[in-house]
């Protein structure tokens, strides 16, 4: 049962990353591509934390802080910045009529 539990975490991370990449490949919509990227990001954080949990060595201050946790902290902060900037850019493009719809198909086809 233990191995099944651990295997499920790997499966989940793999599916999340795969589905995210799948969405990035076939979606033509900028926001949908961003959302697919975020799904992949969730899978990656899960995988990193899982690997950090299963490795025996510790590192950092007092030897109690794991490097993987630091990476995930940094990753979440970067993801929030990325979301804010990209959504703002998409909103700006939409307001400035650079995008008729929030779709990649419309980029450059307005004129």
């Amino acid at each position: 049962m233990i191995i099944i539990g651990l295997f499920l975490i790997i499966i989940t991370a793999a599916v999340l990353i795969g589905v995210g990449v799948w969405g990035i490949v076939y979606n033509k919509n900028l926001v949908k591509m961003l959302l697919s990227l975020e799904v992949s990001f969730n899978g990656i954080t899960l995988l990193v934390l899982y690997i950090a949990s299963t490795t025996a060595s510790t590192t950092g201050v007092l030897g109690i802080i794991k490097l993987g946790a630091y990476i995930v902290f940094l990753g979440i902060a970067l993801a929030i910045g990325e979301i804010s900037i990209i959504v703002s850019v998409i909103l700006y493009m939409f307001k400035e009529k650079m995008l008729n719809e929030i779709s990649q198909d419309e980029v450059g086809s307005e004129e």
């Binding site: 991370a13 793999a14 490949v25 975020e38 946790a69 804010s84």
Partner: protein, 175 residues
């Protein structure tokens, strides 16, 4: 044993109980379904909401893995600010018409990445027989879980209400 080590020992989480295995199975299925809906749903608003659910399920995974503090950061910062920002931003825009156009290349790439990660994950031996976790700042994890669970419960309720309100706003409902 020093107090720090005692706190650490109390914050150790071990897998292996049937309850945790069933919880992992449910979380896995929910995560996969929500991820698929995020990518394929026609409405951008609902896609964002499903992404919020993916974040929530991921936070539960982090909690099970022994990182409650990161789970709360995921809950507060990622779901609370990031995904709600997307939802509210999109709800202010005209809803675009989307079509579902999967092709063979996307399926092949997804299967390749899936198999690659599973094979690598198993072959490098990241599946020991028992898990022991430290978490980040075990003392903080311990304090958060033991003494501030009610605040966390309120936080989850507030987040759920914010999600419901964002759905209502995006659906154009007044009051």
């Amino acid at each position: 044993m020093s107090p720090l080590l005692e706190i650490f020992a109390s914050s150790v989480v071990t897998l292996g109980s049937p309850f945790l295995d069933i919880a992992l199975l449910v979380l896995t299925v929910a995560s996969i379904i929500f991820a698929y809906l995020t990518v394929t749903h026609k409405s951008l608003v609902y896609s964002s909401i499903f992404l919020a659910f993916v974040g929530l399920v991921n936070a539960a995974f982090f909690m099970i893995l022994g990182y409650p503090l990161i789970a709360f950061v995921q809950l507060i910062i990622y779901v609370g600010s990031g995904v709600l920002f997307i939802i509210i931003s999109i709800s202010m825009l005209k809803e675009p018409k989307l079509t579902f156009r999967p092709n063979i290349y996307s399926w092949v790439i997804m299967l390749f990445i899936f198999v690659l990660i599973v094979v690598i994950g198993i072959s490098v031996g990241i599946a020991p027989s028992e898990l022991t976790y430290l978490g980040i700042f075990p003392a903080v994890d311990y304090l958060v879980v033991k003494y501030h669970w009610f605040s966390i419960l309120l936080l989850v309720l507030a987040l759920s209400m914010a999600l419901i309100v964002s759905i209502a706003v995006s659906r154009g409902e007044k009051e």
